[in-house]
């Protein structure tokens, strides 16, 4: 009888060990899988950050070259042209050329500013967005209203640049694709920084855009999503609107803002 009891206990202990091993082994495996996934996400974020940073560095370099080299050369040409005009019997003959040169100088300055907004570095996000609205308004002839509820809190320059790029892309989209007649931008700063971009254009189908691949989706929306992810922010496209688009970018302050 003792042998039977002992044998039964041994068998039961063996089985219990097998079952416990299985449960703990699986738990450990799940933990490792979660860790691996987290590492992959971190790695992907770092890659994205590096790609965007190199993009910004390249923009800064091109903007610097345009401003310091081509801009300076064009200014020198303009001075030469004015001097040449004074020596000519009919100075009005070069007025058209001078005008074209002025436009070219203006374009170079605008492109240089778009590539690397100096206002952002000098005066911060709110001023940079305001200036962006003014520039877009003057070039597109569309009324762009800028409204600021309260002064945003100081932001890490890297994040500030990312937010600025998102707003820039949203404005670009509203002007180029939405066929809107009025655009407004609102900046709100409370627990989080909220930027609302609204237009009265044709709007767009977000579901259609999301189902398409990167090329079809357009690099603009793809970059907006990437930057939003890096900012740990959220972006909402109001789908309930009957006309136009309303985009809300919410950046939490703990994300370095």
């Amino acid at each position: 009888m003792f042998l039977i009891a002992a044998g039964t206990v041994v068998m039961l202990l063996l089985v219990a060990a097998i079952i416990l091993f299985l449960v703990f082994y699986q738990k450990k495996m799940i933990q490792e899988q979660v860790k691996r996934q987290e590492l992959e996400i971190v790695h992907q974020q770092k890659m994205m950050e590096a790609a965007l940073e190199s993009q910004e560095n390249e923009r800064r370099r091109v903007a610097g070259d345009l401003h310091d080299s081509i801009g300076a050369m064009l200014s020198a040409i303009r001075l030469g042209l004015i001097t040449l005009g004074r020596q000519m019997p009919n100075p009005a003959a070069i007025d058209d050329t001078k005008e074209m040169l002025d436009e070219t100088i203006g374009s170079v300055r605008r492109i240089s500013r778009d590539l690397m907004p100096s206002t952002l570095e000098k005066f911060g996000l709110a001023h940079a967005i305001k200036e962006l609205c003014e520039r877009f308004q003057s070039t597109s002839q569309l009324p762009i209203h800028y409204h600021e509820d309260n002064e945003p809190k100081p932001i890490d320059p890297k994040k500030e640049l990312m937010i600025f790029r998102i707003v820039q892309e949203l404005l670009n989209n509203a002007i180029k694709h939405a066929k809107s007649t009025h655009i407004s931008i609102t900046l709100r700063s409370s627990d989080s920084l909220q930027i609302i971009v609204e237009d009265d254009g044709v709007g767009f189908n977000l579901d259609e855009q999301n189902s398409s691949n990167k090329i079809e989706k357009g690099l603009g929306l793809f970059n907006i999503e990437n930057r939003t992810r890096l900012l740990n922010a959220t972006i909402e496209f109001d789908k309930e609107r009957k006309k136009g688009t309303r985009t809300i970018l919410t950046v939490p302050h703990e994300a370095g803002v």
């Binding site: 039977i4 068998m11 089985v15 097998i18 079952i19 299985l22 699986q26 738990k27 799940i30």
Partner: protein
Amino acid sequence: MSSKLIYFSTYSQLFGSFLIATLGYFYFSKREKPIHILAFYGLNSCVFQLVNTFPPRIENYIINNIVANIYTITETFILLYFFFTIFPTAWSKKLIIVFGILYGIVYFTVIPDHWQEAIGSTRMLRDLLMIVCSLFYFYFLISNLPTTQITRYPMFWIVAAFIFFFAGTFVLSLSTDYLHHVLKNDFSYLWPARNFFRFFFCLVVSYGLWLDLREVKIKQSAQR
């Protein structure tokens, strides 16, 4: 040991089998084949236990042994078929068929001359086959681990109950012949322990069936 305890333990395991059958038959059409087999297994156990526990018969060991011997082969084949449906590979399914044939040969070699006796070898072989099948199932589970918690898997609990119960009764089955010779009719007094153990086994299987039932209900409400 009083006969009251024998009755109580027998009715406990009868209740356990009834619980398995009931939980298996809820939402029957929405459940998968292994659950259908388990529901049938519960029903089969209920029928045999009712025949065996009918008050005038419970202490008639000759009839009890005949019923138990028939039950052993039905239980083995039902559970082998259950494992056949949950095993994922072709070779493992073939292995189950081999197990079935092997068991059939042993059973019909041993039993025909000893219908009225409690035969240990057939029960021991049944327990062994169930342990091996359960181990194989765990092997398949470990080689293709699910991403969700294993304890949320109905089959994990069901097979764990199988391996626990059959491993627990294996030594008893192994020594049935010896005990029968030594203890004669007093041997039946060992049965309450086994019956209570089987009641516990039924509860764990029922828990697995309840988990499965919950999943079915969730799926159904999601479809609506």
